[in-house]
């Protein structure tokens, strides 16, 4: 069936099979390979994107369910070459190693900060509980999200 989805500000109209997952639509049809698939059971969160402004796991949304809606991926964050403050904070705080979980982690961190602009350590950890990382032990991710909160607060 035909769907129209706005992804990172661009309108795409495509014919898709109903069974197509949003993440596969993004990756395989639209070339948005910045968003990745890490599991089959929606545990890892690597595929996290924003759907109409809220974080979702794009492996657990059918592409047809995104019809008429707006998706933001990690590729749509940087503004004219300037990194999003959360991206910048992940870099500065060494919050990534292999980087595979990073797109999902960044997208969820942005959602978390939208909900709670000044989270304490515990709130950050709980806000990221749906995102698995195998490299960092999470400590630098916690650092990065709290640093990003300061950066975002500073620009407000």
């Amino acid at each position: 069936m035909r769907i129209t989805v706005t992804v990172d500000g661009v309108n795409y109209s495509d014919e898709v099979e109903p069974r197509t997952l949003l993440v596969h639509h993004l990756r395989d049809r639209l070339g948005k390979t910045g968003t990745v698939v890490g599991c089959d059971t929606s545990n890892c969160g690597a595929c996290t994107v924003h759907l109409d402004g809220r974080s979702v796991k794009s492996c657990s949304v059918l592409a047809v369910q995104a019809d008429g809606r707006a998706v933001t991926t990690v590729e749509g964050l940087a503004d004219g070459g300037e990194l999003h403050p959360v991206q910048q904070a992940f870099h500065e705080n060494h919050a990534l190693q292999c980087g595979f979980c990073t797109p999902g982690m960044i997208m969820q961190a942005i959602d978390l900060l939208a909900e709670d602009p000044d989270p304490d350590e515990d709130a950050v950890r709980h806000g990221l509980e749906g995102n698995l990382c195998r490299c960092t032990g999470y400590q630098n991710i916690v650092h990065a999200v709290r640093d990003a909160a300061r950066r975002l607060g500073g620009t407000r």
Partner: protein, 285 residues
Amino acid sequence: MIPAAFDYTAPSTVDEAVRALVAGGEDAKAIAGGQSLLPVLRLRLAAPTLVVDLSRLTELAGVHDDGDSLLIGALTTHHEVQRDPHVREHAALLRLATDTVADPQIRHRGTLGGALAHADPAGDLLAPVLALDAVLRCTGPAGTREVPAAEFFTDYFTTALEPGELLTHVRVPKLTGWGARYEKFSRVAQAWSIVAVAAAVKVVDGVVEQARVALTNMGPTPVRARGVEEALTGEPATAEAIRAAAARAAEGTDPVTDGNADAEYRTHLARVLTERAVTAAVSDA
């Protein structure tokens, strides 16, 4: 992994949805947020030939104050339940349990109705709904009926929903001013509850006037801990009384042994967590 192929329809009224489900028969499956269904489809543990998407049934979204009760649309997301001021004031137990469901992304998509209709005995919303004496409104080819929560959950992943029938609303009697606690025990944050206890108490002058306690994952369906409720009711809300009451937590339960825990440990946990849940609920009252 990729689900097996299916047809898809997204009706815009409940009647259309019911008709689609009836037409699809046994091989039709309703999808709301899809947070339970999609992993199942991806692993090909189920392969419906028709998926009926309920997400356009906007009439089923949102929380409404309806006098003595809250009427919650089945499509209300967990995230909406968490933030709803009515739920916070009148159904704190539901909010506390919803806070523990899965993770933020899943709470953005997943719905109350979907979780209840999925009826996973380890799911965290079944016991609270049971404890709150909620009534589930269902609409099917034979019309609309209201099913008490105690009769809705019938077995593992099985409900009283008839073929073609949809859960449309959850009516939750207000328990304003009660103390509440959802005490969840899992191995890691993401894991399913090994056991969890939903408790709500009304305490007047240091005496438990009413108590509602229900258990998650202590059998094929959520279990109401009537023995605990009886033992608490009319007793002073003291540590000793709570402990004595909690000792009856496992009455009438039928816990499984699985990869996470055996029945003996679950039985033990039920007592410990009930004591903790009730104690916390009392201090919240």
